[in-house]
């Protein structure tokens, strides 16, 4: 019966059920077959954490509190769902849309339809888990507050379930649609950017909170107005509101819209997802047929050529770091960092240090620029503290006579990985400042950052990727790095701003000195690293 509805043969249904059951069981234990499952579990727990954060504003829903409060609560809730939902859906989309399922199909006797159905069952199971994690606490609290009316938790959980399903499906459909045109990692980076804007801009900044408060107040007079028909949280809280306010027509209408919206969104998401999924599978299988000469990461190759990676050892250093750190979390971190800069400038926390002003906040611009100056050094620290420490034997047994060349490749990779952040910062700041000021503000951290990177490579000249990741930020090296970034980075940035204020001649001389220092440090660090090479001699 179920198989017929889903269009699966009994064998396919059995495969799908077994796959989903295995996935869910392992997901629960945090050891999913698909590695992404572990992250999904963490996301589910993150949602539970959000529950605690939102309890205070969520409880007034449907308990006779003034509408603005409920609107605000609804908006906060929607944002919470959007953020956490985008994380969860992103992880699902990764499982569904990356080539890994092509691998499963290639090597296992499972049809693509069975795999697809299994994945959907997996999503459904996790959504249920998330819903109960999210809503059970408030439902029980509301149950007590409503005088133990059993309808409250029932309607509340039903509305909550529909809301989570609706938003997850909507985000999943969006991911699936975008993934047809953009790599899924980049889609996630966009989601990370939006999350950062939402989380920091709206929830933490004073102006953001005031904005939403004003929205709430101004909506007091709009009870039952047209806008409420377009806001999903209003649809899904309508059943609980009916419990208290009675079956008013606008509430009933909203509840019905909510009821219809879920299957509608499921149909849309399913259609988009199925198409993207099958396209990705086809592409994944095509990769296998292409054999050795399949095109690989052309962007990275282009970046390598752009940065003039010359010799074998230098290429090895570049490719090792760029390929290990070039995607995934780093991309998301870049997006979040970009969002932070945009937000800081937009909020007036960071002000143009090259504009004539006595504003105290202009100093914050210099301070922030100082942190940008040291960003590459902290990235290099991440490369050193690597989860791949056990694989250091590969470099230890390689004939790396000119270790400086290898490390030069590592440094170029760090620069290449950092460039999107600087480019993003330039675009973000350029929207609000004069473009020349934005360029100056970003160019100085790039140039001085490379200078700092050369200095850092001499201090931290042991093999990259050779130490277990430091636990927390308690490591002495990390503390030294943070202090150095605060001191040297901010000092350099302050000197740059000061030179700017002293006039064009002084400023030009400052940049000329900087360029000379850069050239000298590049040659010197390469020469010193060749001499210091931990690989040219066996360790004691």
């Amino acid at each position: 019966m179920i198989g017929r509805v889903l269009g699966l043969s009994p064998g396919e249904l059995r495969h799908a059920t077994l796959l989903a059951a295995a996935q869910l069981t392992l997901l629960w234990r945090g050891q999913a077959v698909v590695r992404r499952g572990r992250t999904t579990t963490r996301s589910a727990f993150a949602i539970a954490l959000w529950t605690n954060l939102f309890m205070g504003v969520f409880l007034p829903l449907g308990t006779g509190v003034a509408l603005p409060e409920r609107v605000r609560a609804g908006v906060w809730m929607a944002m919470g769902f959007l953020m956490t939902g985008s994380l969860v859906a992103g992880e699902f989309a990764m499982s569904l849309l990356e080539h890994r399922d092509a691998d499963v199909l290639f090597h296992r006797p499972v049809s693509s339809r069975a795999l697809y159905a299994g994945r959907l069952l997996q999503i459904t199971g996790t959504v249920l888990l998330v819903t109960f994690g999210f809503f059970t606490g408030p439902a029980m609290a509301g149950f007590a507050m409503s005088g133990w009316n059993p309808l409250f938790p029932l309607l509340y959980l039903a509305g909550g379930l529909m809301q989570v399903v609706f938003l997850t499906l909507a985000i999943l459909a969006l991911y699936a649609f975008l993934a047809r045109f953009i790599h899924i990692e980049r889609v996630k980076a966009v989601a990370g950017f939006i999350n950062a804007i939402l989380a920091i801009g709206i929830m933490m900044s004073y102006q953001g909170q005031m904005l939403w408060a004003r929205v709430g107040d101004s909506l007091e007079a709009l009870r039952g107005a047209a806008w409420t028909y377009f806001v999903p949280p209003a649809w899904f809280s309508a059943p609980v509101e009916i419990l208290y306010a009675g079956p008013q027509s606008h509430l009933v209408a909203q509840a019905l819209i909510g009821l219809a919206s879920v299957p509608l969104m499921a149909a849309v998401a399913s259609g988009v997802l199925r198409r993207s999924y099958q396209e990705r599978l086809a592409r994944g299988l095509e990769h296998r047929r292409l054999g050795l000469h399949a095109p690989r990461r052309p962007l990275l190759t282009w970046a390598a050529r752009l940065l003039f990676v010359r010799r074998g050892a230098e290429t090895a250093g570049f490719e090792l770091v760029a390929r290990l750190y070039g995607t995934g979390k780093l991309l998301q971190a870049t997006a979040i960092f970009f969002a932070l800069i945009l937000l800081a400038v937009w909020q007036g926390i960071v002000k143009d240090p090259y504009a004539p002003s006595d504003d105290l906040f202009a100093f914050m611009g210099t301070f922030y620029q100082g942190l940008l100056c040291f960003m590459m050094v902290t990235t290099a620290g991440q490369v050193r503290h690597s989860p791949y420490a056990g694989a250091a034997w590969i470099l230890q047994t390689a004939p790396l006579g000119r270790y400086g060349d290898f490390y030069a490749g590592v440094k170029k990779a760090v620069l290449a990985l950092s460039l999107p952040v600087y480019a993003g910062a330039f675009v973000a700041i350029g929207l609000l400042w004069p473009p020349a000021h934005a360029l100056l503000y970003v160019a100085f951290p790039v140039v001085s950052g490379v200078l700092f990177l050369h200095a850092h490579s001499l201090w931290d000249h042991e093999l990259p990727l050779s130490e277990e990741p430091a636990v927390g930020s308690a490591g002495t090296r990390m503390i030294v790095l943070i202090l150095a970034s605060l001191f040297f980075g901010v000092a350099a940035s302050a000197a740059h701003s000061f030179a700017f204020r002293l006039g064009p001649q002084v400023f030009a001389a400052f940049w000329a000195a900087l360029a000379l220092a850069l050239i000298a440090s590049s040659g010197f660090s390469r020469w010193m690293l060749n001499r210091l090479s931990p690989l040219a001699r066996a360790p004691e």
């Binding site: 590695r35 080539h99 890994r100 691998d103 290639f106 990769h287 296998r288 054999g291 050795l292 399949a294 690989r296 010799r311 074998g312 050892a313 290429t315 090895a316 490719e319 090792l320 390929r323 290990l324 791949y388 056990g390 694989a391 034997w393 590969i394 470099l395 230890q396 047994t397 390689a398 004939p399 790396l400 006579g401 990727l465 690989l535 040219a536 001699r537 066996a538 360790p539 004691e540």
Partner: protein, 243 residues
């Protein structure tokens, strides 16, 4: 003929603990030598010293005619190494990993890809070329490590438990490959606990116990000399601890 490996009075101590105690032996080109010993005997320490990963405390050693201390880089250019762990850069695909190894050895791209394809096809891994190695089984990773050791066609191969995690077919394939390499004049220094495999693969065995060489000779000869039916029995009699 110059020995591929010549070790003379080589020692390594970690503080007060003597891991390798004045060992000496030579290995001729094209020879497959099984290096045996119980846990903690000093096998891995010896291999690490000969591969330039660890400095000896005293003594000398030459690999492929080069001094392992004075000419470490030239030694590393001429050796291939397979460690006893399957730790590799799992975030990379086999293609990326093997390209990295090729770059480290400064191999021409075309030659590297040709050899990569040849070895991976033999190991049945060509279809997995673009998959992240994090999804690989231990045996699959071991095949990639073996491929990386063969890639630059080294004169001397140091193998530390190379068959760990491999299935029967892959084990047979590795054994055949080792014989082919030996016939082509490559030297193979093979450290293992799998005595039955060593007995069939190696031409000669060197046994280390408590940091000292306790046996050195062709397999059949040492068995006959000790009047033991197999390497396992010989190993047991030589390494048996006093009650």
């Amino acid at each position: 003929m110059t020995a591929s490996i010549a070790v003379h009075e080589l020692s390594k101590s970690y503080g007060a603990s003597l891991a390798v105690d004045r060992i000496s032996f030579t290995v001729a080109p094209g020879e497959i030598v099984g290096y045996l010993g119980p846990n903690g005997a000093g096998k891995t320490t010896t291999l690490k010293m000969l591969c330039g990963m660890l400095a000896p405390t005293s003594g000398t050693a030459h690999v492929a005619g080069r001094d392992i201390i004075a000419d470490t880089i030239e030694v590393k250019r001429r050796i291939g190494f397979v460690p006893d762990s399957d730790a590799i850069y799992e975030g990379l695909t086999p293609y990326e990993f093997l390209r990295l190894v090729a770059h480290l050895h400064e191999l021409p791209e075309a030659a590297a890809e040709e050899r990569m394809e040849h070895h991976l096809r033999r190991f049945g891994l060509l279809d997995h070329l673009y998959e992240p190695m994090s999804t690989f089984s231990k045996g699959m990773k071991q095949k990639i490590v073996l491929t990386s050791a063969f890639l630059h066609e080294p004169e001397v191969l140091f193998l530390d438990e190379p068959l760990t995690g491999l299935d029967v077919n892959a084990t047979l394939l590795v054994k055949d490959t080792l014989h082919e390499l030996a016939r082509a004049g490559r030297t193979i220094f093979y450290s293992s606990h799998m005595l039955d495999v060593v007995e069939r693969v190696a031409m000669r065995v060197v046994m280390i116990h408590r940091g000292r060489i306790v046996l050195d000779g062709p397999v059949q000869e040492v068995l006959a000399r000790a009047n033991e039916p197999s390497l396992e029995e010989l190993f047991r009699s030589l390494t048996r601890e006093a009650p």
